[in-house]
Amino acid sequence: MSGRIVGISGPTVLVEHPGLQLYERVTVGHARMMGEVVRLERDRSIVQVYDSTRGLAVGEPAVGTGTHFTVRLGPGLLGQMFDGLQRPLDSLRAEQGAFIQPGAEGSRPWAARALRFVATKKPGDSIRVGEAIGYVEEGAFRHPLLADQEGIIDRIRDGELDAEAPLAMLREGQQMFAFHDWPVRVPRPYRRKLTQFEPLVTGQRCIDFLFPLARGGSAIFPGGFGTGKTILEQSIAKFAQSDIVVYVGCGERGNEMAEMLDDFSSLADPWSKRPLMSRTIVAVNTSNMPVAAREASIYTAVTMAEYYRDLGYSVLLLADSLSRWAEALREISSALEEMPGEEGYPTYLASRIAGFFARAGAVETLDGRTGSLTMILSVSPPGGDFTEPVTQACLRTTGSFFMLDTDLAHRRHFPAINWFQSFSLYERDVSRHFDEHVAQEWSTLRQQTREFLQREASLREVVEIVGTEGLQDTDRLLMRTTEQIRRQFLMQNAYTEDAFSSPEDTLGRIRDILARHAAASERLAKGALLDELLKEGA
């Protein structure tokens, strides 16, 4: 069945097409652009178009596909770069040149790569849903292929993967393929969620030590422009202890993506020593790419992330930035002439955000593996004002909050994480793990560091009035130590070797600083001169 376009407004078109479903995928216009039904009326529907509507004419066809907006899941995703609709950017470039034309489908990623399937089940074996029938070596990853139905295997074959040919046939005649399509807006199922306690080491001292993250948890870091969101996000993508990293560039800068792709192809994962790209999937929709595809990009990414979670891996999803996604939502909502909520955002903003965060978690998968999906999302509050709706909606659902501070950024203190305002709800559970696996003193040292920083803040107020000279000797020593904590511990240069710090290094550094302080305090108490102590430590 097909219909035609009768109206166009911004990224949405009005189509006359009977029998469409809500969220059904529609191809729009002669260029066959992709779209999704967002509102249904009798015989008339509004379709949000994932491409620029410039040049589209009324009267052009609109055809429902009978399916929802899906992504294709299977071996071969790793190391790829997609746009927000899972079109592989490399093949788009090969087909169209440097600039992206509207309506291009882009060939599917696996066409280019030769992957070999090795069966682990044989004819006659009975299988359950979620059970592995074999695997594919995807680079260094063993990628199990899981059954999506149950039955008894009739035929199964080793060999080159082919998107069209089935891997196995069941007795009842059903076929099993290496790839399947999954609707992006539907969370993938799992057996149950686990209560999280394992830490996710990020390699960032400030985060790992003061505000540790848990696998399956979620974190946001809001910050005004120039506070280093993107650099922090990319540092974590490079160094975090995670099997798979899915990175979404959502409505951000093209040159930064070029920089990141450049970096990633030359760096190695510090944990496995393998090339960084071999564990990474990138989905990117830069700010000048179509707005509706930006809205879809985080769902495309989270669905791919869930897929690897279901294979039993720990997956880290990084998105930069959630605010751009929310703005895309606002643009679409306003084209639909919906009643606006706060600052023009639709009233369902908070529930959409909560729904998205709910897709994070450590889970027991359908076949009993353990996998986790951790989310770290940056937020770009307008004017650096954290009272805005996106930050506030995130704060209600997220497990940790790293506040990026413009003041610190202006002093070139990076990562500019404010140590008073930030928090992590995983702190207690995860600390136990650090105490057991790294060193007993982890929690104690952290407590001490916090106290030092707290006291420094109050001393600073005094200094504002009387100057440093007016402080007591012990306080001046403390000010010196906290400066060292800030400069040598909390600050971390993303462009040098120091960009990654293992938990042992992190601990070693802070232990040294605090030990030097303890020694100096002792000598001060025994009558040593402060000026000499300060000189020694400088």
Partner: protein
């Protein structure tokens, strides 16, 4: 494609720059329309929205004199395109690409849609080649590279145009200039809502400049809607010169605040839901569609570098215009009223200024291997000196330690000797030399 020309006189209403056309048989989003006024003169317009047979058109130009009975509207079936040719060089046009230099329109080699197409992120070449501006605060501390977009955040009354003119006159692309860019660099100058006085100033600067330029001039008295079009023409021409002819193009757009105000005016006329301060909610995407056209392409010579000037209303950097700009661009150069009042030129406040693409553009092989260390040292010490000024205001200089006094002196000297350079042009080597000397004079090691 339509087989015949569709001409209508079924105007339902006209509101400011917007025209509602009724009973339209077939319309295309963003297509160009030609409007013939009752007195016979013509204007152009663009389709903004279509709902069944009702079409919303934005008029480019003056809408005074339109009526609902005699006005004719022709739908052209084509979207807005820019004429392209090397013959644009050293010409001046208005916001609708009509020549204003007294010479005839050139014959284009080709046409391209003014809105452009997004550059595939994997086709982008990472920008890392220095553009030397001759200003120490930029070259030394906030280095500009080819393919970057770096706005200048100014305040009313600050010499942003003098700085822009200085950059235009001196900008030269660094060492790799020899290998690419056969015909040298080109400046595309886009003036949006400038006063005649400002325009004359830039005109002189362009004349003093060696090398080629193209100007698109929309003055304060010219139609508001043309302000939305002029930068798109400028960027389309820039992309053509860069990626078809291998030139390094520097696009200077001034003033983006006028662009955003034009956007707000049209949005309000469309009765759209206003966002912060009345600007439309899609302003981020709108600005991105301009700014993101800066860049370089792999295996292709040429580059588009963008220098927009933004005048911050009420000197407020959190105002939506500088705020959204800062979220899209790769850094910002922030001017300070305080430095200006102390007679420092250029009055660049280096603390909130930033160049995100600096890291790859400096150091051995690009500028000098000690560049990064010098820049970091200047920042750190200047920042602590600036902090101490607040303390000095409370306790007085006498109450401060020797070390603190030294930092105060350093901050003063930094502003007088590095930031301030008057009309003197420093190449990157000189910038690094004077910076190094200053640090050594204060006994501050370069870490």
């Amino acid at each position: 494609m339509r087989l015949s020309t569709h001409s209508y006189s079924t105007i339902r209403s006209i509101q400011g720059p917007l025209l509602f056309l009724d009973r339209v048989i077939e319309a295309r989003m963003s297509e160009v329309v030609r409007i013939t006024f009752p007195d016979g003169h013509e204007a152009e317009g663009e389709v903004l929205k279509i709902e069944d047979d009702l079409v919303l058109i934005q008029i480019v130009g003056e809408s005074r004199g339109l009526d609902t009975d005699h006005t004719q509207v022709v739908l052209t079936d084509a979207i807005k395109r820019a004429p392209l040719s090397l013959a644009v060089l050293n010409r001046a046009f208005d916001g609708s690409f009509r020549p204003i230099d007294g010479r005839r329109m050139f014959i284009p080699d080709t046409w391209a849609p003014v809105s452009g197409f997004p550059l595939n992120p994997v086709a982008r070449l990472r920008p890392q080649d220095l553009i030397e501006t001759g200003l120490s605060t930029i070259d030394g501390l906030n280095t500009l590279v080819k393919g970057q977009k770096l706005p200048i955040f100014s305040c009313a009354g600050l010499p942003s145009r003098e700085i822009a003119a200085a950059i235009l006159e001196h900008a030269r692309a660094g060492r790799s200039a020899a290998e690419g860019a056969a015909g040298g660099s080109v400046v595309v100058f886009v003036a949006l809502g400038l006063t005649y006085h400002e325009h004359a100033f830039y005109q002189q600067a362009l004349e003093r400049m060696r090398g080629d330029s193209v100007a698109f001039i929309n003055l304060a008295s010219d139609p508001v809607v043309e302000r939305l079009l002029a930068p798109r023409f400028g960027l389309t021409v820039a992309e053509h010169l860069a990626f078809e002819h291998g030139r390094d193009v520097l696009v200077l757009v001034t003033d983006m605040t006028n662009y955003c105000d034009a956007l707000r005016e049209v949005s309000a006329a469309r009765e759209e839901l206003p966002g912060r301060r009345g600007y439309p909610g899609y302003m981020y995407s709108e600005l991105a569609s301009l700014y993101e056209r800066a860049g370089r392409i792999k295996d292709t010579p040429g580059s588009v570098t963008l220098l927009p000037i933004v005048t911050m209303p009420e000197d407020d950097i959190t105002h939506p215009i500088p705020d959204l700009t800062g979220y899209i661009t790769e850094g910002q150069i922030v001017l300070s009223r305080e430095l200006h009042q102390r007679g420092i030129f250029p009055p660049v406040d280096v603390l909130p200024s930033l160049s995100r693409l600096m890291q790859r553009g400096i150091g051995a092989g690009h500028t000098r291997e000690d560049h990064r260390a010098i820049a970091n040292a200047l920042y750190t010490h200047y920042a602590s000196g600036r902090d101490l000024r607040r303390l000095e205001a409370i306790v007085g200089r006498d109450g401060m330690s020797e070390a603190d006094k030294k930092m105060l002196d350093f901050a003063d000297a930094f502003e007088r000797e590095i930031v301030h350079q008057g009309t003197v042009h420093r190449d990157i080597g000189e910038t690094l030399n004077v910076s190094r000397k200053l640090l050594e004079r204060f006994g501050l090691t370069t870490p």
